[in-house]
Each structure stands twice: as C-alpha cells, then as structure tokens.
Subunit: 238 residues, 2 copies
Amino acid sequence: MNQLNVCLTPVLIPLYDVEEHVVVIIDIFRATSSICYGIENGAEAIIPVSEVEECEAFRPQGHLLAAERNGEVVTGFDFGNSPFSYTAEKVAGKTIVLTTTNGTQALHLSRAAKRVVIGSFLNLTALCEWLKTQDENILLVCAGWKNNFNLEDTLFAGAVVEQLKYSGFKLDDAAIAANDLYQTGKADISQYLKKTSHSERLKALGIEKDIEFCLQVDLTTAIPVLDGERLVKLQLNY
Amino acid sequence: MNQLNVCLTPVLIPLYDVEEHVVVIIDIFRATSSICYGIENGAEAIIPVSEVEECEAFRPQGHLLAAERNGEVVTGFDFGNSPFSYTAEKVAGKTIVLTTTNGTQALHLSRAAKRVVIGSFLNLTALCEWLKTQDENILLVCAGWKNNFNLEDTLFAGAVVEQLKYSGFKLDDAAIAANDLYQTGKADISQYLKKTSHSERLKALGIEKDIEFCLQVDLTTAIPVLDGERLVKLQLNY
C-alpha cells in the first residue's frame, strides 16, 4: 500500500526518504499559487531562487525578474510575487525568475524525489487526478513560514488528502491532522484563515486581493514540475 | 500580550526563544503520563534518560530503574514504562530513572526555558490553572515520534489551549491547529486516536490498557518540574 504523508515544515523533510516519494511543494501565500497561474498562462519556465541578489544574476539572460521586499516590487525588477502579475499577457513564452524564500528551501530539500510538482488551490483537482495515476508514495511538503508550521499550507495539504484518501493510501498522523483541519475550515477557508497571525501580517502588506485569488479552487489545470532548476509544465499522457 | 505557542516536534524547538517561555513537555504515550502519576504518588524524583545504558549507570545509587525494549521490561530492571508501575506502593519516597527517547530529547532542548514542567491528560486542569498564574509566554512542546509530528501529543496541546485561550494569550498557527484538532477529537479521544498508525503500533505492543489509562483526565494534581536533571513536584504558592 502506498503512503500519503504530509511534511508540516521543510525542517522535517530529512525525516522522510524523499527519493521514495513523489513530492508536492505547497506555499499557498503566494509562491506556488503564482507559479501555477504563470505556467497555466504559458510561461515557458519559472526559476525559483531564495535571494534578490540571485534573481538579479539572471538579468543578462533577458528573463523576467520577480522580487519583493515588504510587499513592494524591488526597484528595477519587472514585478513582485502577486499572482496578478502572472497573466498570459505578461508571461506567455517567457522565463521568470521568482524570489521566494520558503518555497525555494522546500524545493531544494526535495530535489532527490522521484518527481517534484507544485500544488495550490488553483490546480487542486488536476493535481490530485494526476497523483492518483502515479502508483507511488506521495509526500505533501508544506513550505510553512520561516521553517515553522503554518495553517494555510497545511489546510491545502488536507484538501489533497480529501481527494486521495479513498484511493488506497496509508495516511501518516500529519495527513490525518491536515485532513481534519481541512474539514474544520473547508466551508469558508478564507474566513477560517482570518484567525491566523499570518493573516494580519498579509493584511498589513496590503495583499488581501492576492489572498482571495490564491484561495480560488480549480481555476487552472497545469501542473508545474521541476526539471533541473526550472519549473515547467508537466506533459500528461492521458 | 503573552504568547501561547505549540511546538509540534522537538526538531522545531530551536525556532523558539525557549528562554522567553515557560515550557510544557508532552509525551502522552507514555512518558509524561507515567511521570505525572509517579510524582503524584510520592516519588521523590524522576530522572529521565535517553538510553538503557545511561539508566544502568544509576544502579549503584540504589534508584529504581525503568526501561523497556519492544514493550518488555529489560532484564534486571525494576519495571518498564507502564503508568501502572508508578503506584504509591512502588514509588513513594523513591527516585526513579526512566528511559524515554522522545521525552528526554524534548527536555534536553528546552532546558534554557524559564521553567520546564510536565503535562499529560492526568494533570490537565491543575497544569492549566498554574499556567494561568504565571504571566509568561508559554510553549507547549510535543515530544512526537522519532522527531516527527504525532496526533496524541498535539491533541493534548489543543486541550491545554482550550483551557487557556480566553485568558489573554496570542496563539500561533500551531496552537490554533492543535485546538481545532482537539475540538474534532474531544468527544471521544480514545476513538479518535484509533485511526492513527501509532495506535496500531501501540496495540501490537499489547499496551492498550496503558493507553486508556493515559487518556484519563484530571486523575492527578501534581505538576512535575525540572530541577537540574531531576523532575520533582512543583511547590505551589496558592
């Protein structure tokens, strides 16, 4: 029986044999939501990096550069981390270098996996349908916040568990917990997440519209997959 | 406003300033339950150690030695980790050296805290009443299982949050999640925990009676507190 495991923060990744899993990276506010939307809208590739300086190093290659500090686009960069920047008009055919601390850390620690794909509420059902066809152990990695647990990534992991739990997987304790939290919050996820401290922080950044956007379910069907250093669109065989 | 934080596994302890918190160590099956019961029943002190060999080193001092391997008392030791071994008849006036891997790890990483106390369902309300008098940040540390998340320790953390959440604390995301899981499971915690894989493991060890014992609420009032290397009974001023 294949396992369906949830890794609640990147710090815990070393406790799993990632090479025995298909890994899904989850960073709902906002990295993996923006990545799903950008790939859906025809971006050729998205390259995640940790630091603004690393991002800057890609400038000579003519890529679009995305970086924010405290909710503002860094001077001289093309855009920030808002999913609204990832429209077809802006990204189709382009390669984007995206600065994201938590997400890049999670990706880096997972690269030995059988496959690394990107999940968000935007591509939830498409992702789950693909996962069901894989016949592999699955590890849902929550990028979290500064290496610690956060509620929004865990809630999304619970939404994935909800779609997969009757497909013959063995759930670990964190998968059970994530699913139960999803049951608690699913009627109104936006309202549920308002009680978190993270929510206050995001509100202070003036990105409430981004938050609502990132909580839309099944707006997209593309599944971004890691290919070397680049995230590209997974080519489906069905 | 003081914080009420939940640390979901010992691996995450370094993410907190433990020196700015009163820490509660939680290892429901069975270390912290047995410790609460033993201190309640008049044990002079309980010394937690990680390895059977360390435990053995205390033999010349005439302490009671508790160690198990695969659910069996280690040959030559006085008893194992079952709370039923910690009756007044056996432990009153004695010092016990207890082998516990997860719990000792959590204690070791928390020793810089303002105070380290021990929690379990057995002393839940007494513990919470004392915590309310402290006017300090509180960190509930789940010992977990092999450094990863487990459901029973988190559920107990959620029970503590339930008693403290209207006393003016700011909750972190993990405290919110633990409390919501407690809401899901509280009507029948024993039944709720049966869906975990851990439960199967414990069942295989033949310690189902221990499990039921450890889930009893408010059987005791003593609060074990760390004093150097020893856990002793906290002397209350009220």
